[in-house]
Symmetry: C2
Subunit: 262 residues, 2 copies
Amino acid sequence: MARGNPPRQQLSRARVVQAAIELADAEGIEALSMRHLAERLGVVPMALYKHVGDKEDLLDAMVDELIGQVRAAEAGETGPAPTPDPTPGPVRASGAENTPLPAGQPDWADAIRRTILATRTVVQRHGWARRVIETRTVRTPTVLGHMEHLTQLFLRGGLSPDLVHHVMHALGNRIWGFSPELFDESPGGRTRESRSRAEQPDPADYPGIIAIATDAAARRPGATGCDEEFEFRFALDLLLDGITRLQESGWTSTPGRLTPED
Amino acid sequence: MARGNPPRQQLSRARVVQAAIELADAEGIEALSMRHLAERLGVVPMALYKHVGDKEDLLDAMVDELIGQVRAAEAGETGPAPTPDPTPGPVRASGAENTPLPAGQPDWADAIRRTILATRTVVQRHGWARRVIETRTVRTPTVLGHMEHLTQLFLRGGLSPDLVHHVMHALGNRIWGFSPELFDESPGGRTRESRSRAEQPDPADYPGIIAIATDAAARRPGATGCDEEFEFRFALDLLLDGITRLQESGWTSTPGRLTPED
DNA sequence: ACCTGAACACCGTTCAAGT
DNA sequence: ACCTGAACACCGTTCAAGT
């Protein structure tokens, strides 16, 4: 094998994950094979298995790494420089500017919007991220932390655990910074019995998620899991309601409003 | 090879697609390989390539088949028997019953809801459908027809092409009958240069889609494709607006309302 | 403890040959 | 026209062996 391409270094999980992200960025997710990745690292394929459980574990770790960058992206977007300014001042609901719909949303909505748009920024940097996130079935601590963060923003905004629960479902994959690309072309549960590295998550770390899960369980005694049909109809109704109101108000898009010149 | 398992029949595209759906239903999408499928049909792998272009084409055809069943499912759900009753009578906005949110939506919303819930019914019958739909990048005539149908329901409801455009984006993959499963576990554009079978779609078949695409193009001269960020923010705002209203009204879920006993 | 070599049981797809 | 056989260039992962 052509070995010694890179300046051979001690292998580690972080190095493997980093190399995998770079490979997927450079050659696409379909080019990310254990063999190809090993070759890039100047190592035999089996060497990787000391640091990742299997390929799925590697993909989990790649997503984990990206979501871990969200908080930094959020801080970096509010201020121009990535250096965090410790003087907060009166934070006048930024992020509320340049929204397509008429304003008038509470502060918690601005905070939610900021976090979700920061997630979008990170995810958009990697063409493969959306597709990989959609196939994940295990929630790593970082991913749970992201959901916990959003849950807390809603709860602290005064929403009931009941409402937060349904609202998280309704936001759906927009929480991950993407929505489906419907018009790209115009016409013409995996269960893992053993995790390779991550210990079982500690419920104490996710009080918000626990709160809404507990509330949901209390409302539906004897039921296991969510009432997926209810959640689906809830989100659908929420959208149809909003659409109805927009139509009645004679809303028209003004995309120019989104440009910085505005 | 163990051949002659099934009562050997002339191979055809329809038979290949049907067998692929049955295999995916029975053994899961990860068990659907060209070789495995060929074995099931008592045929050598390469025989399949006379009827499907490649594996992606096969997956496209499987989705095409499912979406083609939506109209029948919609008819079958309104009435108890699948035999269509030709006496319409005063259609009192059915489908508006048993929705999680307070009523008060116009007739077009009921029609949209019925179609989307019928899509959901079909998709839910096949565990693999959601994942496969999400990876499709070519729109078959049947899939375009489904989007055209929904577009027309909005346009005939009186929504402007502009609003319909954004609204289709906002509904996102709920159009396909699913939304992401966020809480399954609690803590603790491909471009194809030659299509195997489908001729280029005829724009005349999709006037609604053309109408909203034309309108969108006119609003953003010089732009190619959608303003994805605008669409993302539009949907996000729509949801945040609706959530704000629900909170202010003190909404609480009553899942029991969804049961037939209500 | 960490990496290697060889092997196993698969993939999708090609080409030239059969009937 | 439709199917076959053999081959190519890949996969993820195992096991026992090396250092």
